[in-house]
Structure formats: structure tokens, C-alpha cells
Amino acid sequence: MNDKRNLTPILLRFGSVIAGLLIWHYVADVVINDSSVLVSPMVVVTKAYEMLVTTGELYPHLFASSQIFFWGFVLAIVVGVPLGFVMALSVVVCDYVNPWMTTLYTAPRIAFAPVLLLWFGIGAGSKIAIVFLGCVFPILINSYFGMRVVNREYVELARSFRLNRWALFSKILLPASIPFILAGVRLAIGRGLTGVAIAEWFGATEGLGYLVFFAGQTLNVPILFVGVATFAVLGVIGFELVRRFENFMTPWRKSSQGV
């Protein structure tokens, strides 16, 4: 019984992917049948294979994008988590940071891109800043929220054992917040990849964003789709890695399937 129940979602997901690819193929080759608009997934896979194995031209782009993503993402964690904590623990800091946080979070990041480019130049700095801006808010907000909603009973428990402030933080508040923080980190992956794409549209000479932009401009549909697909695959891999890390970090939660 148990095996069957565990297998069903996997089959469903696999079936969903296959069905999607079949529909894509059908629409591309039969309904539209115009390779300047849409190409079959077969063409994309062939092109990707060529770019990965035969010519290897995808790697520099992959490498450039990964680097920007990595630094922006890590910086967002390093800044977002502690700032979220401080906001949760201090009403003053929270009130102080809140208007800026709301403004920056809701403003379209793409509008910031030229400004950041102006400030940090067309090198890695501005790109990392764009990725950082994308990643930092879900992490910050979740770290803040996670620490705010810690069960009052746990805090009373700490008080009843006369734990000091540091023990309250490290033994109660921090572990209670970890699932929230990691959920924020998971959300940040998608936003970070969007950041990479935006960053590389402006004045870049390599990277997946550049590749997609360039292919779009030159109407190279197969490369365009290889770029988009690579983004998608990176997103799925990143999402899955964080999910596994979540399960590893929080073995006490009933193992959760799905998103």
C-alpha cells in the first residue's frame, strides 16, 4: 500500500511532463509548423546536445550565469537572514526598515536594472546586485515572519526553564524559524534566476540571459529555447536541492511531498 501511494505522485509528475512535451511537439510540428516561431522539443534537445557536447558553446554562458547567481544568492542569505531576525526581535528596527523593504520588494526590479548598471558599471557588480535584490526579500521576509510566529508556548517553556536570551534564541527561536527561512530560500531561487536573465539583458557579452536575448534578437529560435530550457532546468534543480536540504535540516517534520 505504502509503496503504491509513494509511486503515484511520481508517475503523475512524469506523465505530466511527457504529456506537456507531446503537446508542445504536436503544436510545433503540426499546428504551427513554422520554425521561425516555435520548434519541437526534439529540435531543442538536439540543439542543446550540440551546444553541450559537440561545440561546448553553452558552458561559458552557464558558467557566467552561475557565478552571478551564486554570489547574488549567497549575499542575499547573508544579509536577509540576520536582518529578518533583527527586525523580528526589535520593533524599532522593523518600523525603520519596513517602508524601504516594502518599496523595494514591490517595485519592479527590471526598472532598477539600469540604475544599478549606472552605479556598479557593466561588470559583475551590477549583475550580482540585481540578483541580490531579487533574492533578498523572500529570504528576509520569511526570516522575519518565521521568528515572529514562533509558538508562544515554546517561549514560555524557555522562560519556565529560565533560559537566558542567547539560549532562547539559539534553542527556541532559531530552530523554530528554520523551515520558514528555507521556504524563503526556495522562493528566492526563482526570483534569483529572473534576476540573472534581467541582468544579462543589459550590456552583457555572455551568460544565459545574454544568450536568450541575443537569440531573440537574431530570431534563432532553437538557441532561444535552449536558453529558456536551461533556465528552467536550473530552477528545477535549485528548487529540488533546497527541498532536499530542508528535509535534511528538519528531519522532525513529517516528510512532506510536493511543493
Partner: protein, 268 residues
């Protein structure tokens, strides 16, 4: 440990909450109570009479409005940084990210020198509550009764002078509750702790206690107290003892009066 004086003494303990635009909201007033070493005292009363709040004030989770609390003759204000009381919460207050063993270790960490020694103590208390072999299970893997056992072990592990228990079995089904009552009696006999046990079940109070204290409706104060006329060790059969039933009846009538004089059950 002074055997002569009371272990816990409440003198004119009073608790109120300030309100905007009106008189302060009185939770309980004029509480005078004294527990001798190793005594098991239960508090019953109509819901909302302030019995849980009293436990929290005694433990220092909430400030008192007036009055004094003495533990072994010393003011509780001077003892705030010492761990003289263990609190068993009503809800599942086990930390879900800690295993049974780690939950019991919570109060020992930083107090007992050496990790190995602390672990040894934690294991001893898990064994006492009958959970040997479940050291590495997380709370969600344990039944409600087992979770309350861990809860009890955690409160006992720091070897408190007084154990405060806030309706610890309220969330359990009737059968598990009965088993846990017997387990608590056994554990209490082994540890000889001084216990204040808050419950809304009169039979539970009688079965467990040396003395049962009945609270008035809010603002709660002591209406009456009864010495339980049953020997020890207690057993479930005693619940059909005429003296047990009579006491249960008397206490029930008093609580009923309290509920009625406060405007009836509908007002609770």
C-alpha cells in the same frame, strides 16, 4: 532542604490585568496557601477562575499584582534565576525539532557540567516515565500519552523543588488519561516531589491528591479545601469507594454553586 517549614507558601497573592477606561480586571485575589514537603495538592474550580494563571504567576511566567511567594522560606523574587520549579504545560509543548532525549536535556544544558552526565540524567528520567527505547524519537512519532510522559520527564529532570502541572492530561482520551494518572502516582511516589496540580476533573483531583482545593468563580480565591480521606497507594478501584464518591459530590455541588452565582454556565 528544610523539612520543618512549608516548601511553598502563598501570602495574599493577587493578580489583576489593567484595562482601558475601567477598573482593573481581577483574575484572582487573597490567595493564601501552603504546601508541605512532598505534598500533592490539586486545584479545581469553575473554568476561568484563574487557576492556570495562578500557576503561571507562581512560576514567574506572569508578574503578580500583589502578595508574596515563598519557597523554603525564601522570597521567589530572590530565586528567579534558579530553577526551583518545574512546569508541565497542558499542550504539547515539546519542541518538535528535538528528540525525546534532547527535549529532556533542554533544562539540563548549561546547568549540568558535561554532556555525558546531562545525557545520563535525561536517560534516567526517560526511563522513570517508561520511555526507555524512545530516546531518539521525535515528538510527532509519539502518542499523546507518550508526549506527556516526555513533558513530565523534562520537568522532573532538573530536580525541581516544586512541580507545577497545568491540566497535563486534558488533551488525552479517557483511557490514556487513567493510565497516566496511575503513572503519575507511581512517579510521584518515587520522586517525592511537592506538586500543585490544576485540573477541571474532580475525580482526577481526588484520586491523585492529599488535598483538593476548590476555587470560587472569578476573581478566584480559595473557597474550601478537603483532605482526601484515602490511603496510599491509590488505585482505580478507589473511585468507587463511598468516601471518594461523597467527596466528589460535595466538591461538584460547590463548583455548581460557583458557576450559578457567577451568572450561570452560559456566561462562562
Amino acid at each position: 532542604m528544610s523539612m520543618a517549614g512549608p516548601v511553598l507558601e502563598l501570602k495574599n497573592l493577587h493578580k489583576e490585568l489593567p484595562r482601558k477606561d475601567s477598573e482593573p480586571f481581577q483574575i484572582f485575589k487573597n490567595l493564601n496557601l501552603s504546601l508541605r514537603d512532598g505534598e500533592f495538592v490539586s486545584i479545581v474550580g469553575p473554568s476561568g477562575c484563574g487557576k492556570t494563571t495562578m500557576l503561571r504567576v507562581i512560576n514567574g511566567l506572569m508578574p503578580r499584582s500583589a502578595g508574596e511567594i515563598f519557597i523554603d522560606g525564601k522570597s521567589s523574587k530572590d530565586l528567579d534565576h534558579q530553577l526551583v520549579m518545574g512546569f508541565v504545560f497542558q499542550g504539547a509543548s515539546l519542541l518538535p525539532w528535538r528528540t525525546s532525549l534532547k527535549n529532556v536535556l533542554l533544562g539540563l544544558e548549561g546547568r549540568v557540567k558535561g554532556v555525558a552526565e546531562a545525557e545520563q540524567i535525561a536517560r534516567k528520567y526517560l526511563d522513570l516515565v517508561g520511555l526507555s527505547g524512545f530516546e531518539n524519537n521525535y515528538p510527532h512519532e509519539l502518542s499523546g500519552g507518550m508526549q506527556q510522559r516526555v513533558n513530565l520527564a523534562r520537568a522532573l529532570a532538573v530536580d525541581p523543588r516544586i512541580l507545577l502541572m497545568d491540566e497535563p492530561f486534558a488533551a488525552l482520551d479517557a483511557q490514556t488519561r487513567n493510565f497516566m494518572q496511575l503513572e503519575l502516582l507511581r512517579i510521584w511516589a518515587e520522586t517525592k516531589k511537592t506538586v500543585i496540580f490544576v485540573t477541571h476533573m474532580i475525580a482526577e483531583a481526588i484520586l491523585l491528591s492529599d488535598r483538593v482545593i476548590v476555587f470560587t468563580h472569578r476573581p478566584g480565591t480559595i473557597r474550601s479545601e478537603f483532605k482526601v480521606p484515602l490511603g496510599r497507594p491509590r488505585s482505580m478501584e478507589m473511585r468507587s469507594d463511598p468516601r471518594f464518591l461523597e467527596l466528589e459530590n460535595v466538591i461538584w455541588k460547590q463548583i455548581e454553586e460557583e458557576v450559578n452565582s457567577s451568572g450561570g454556565f452560559a456566561n462562562q
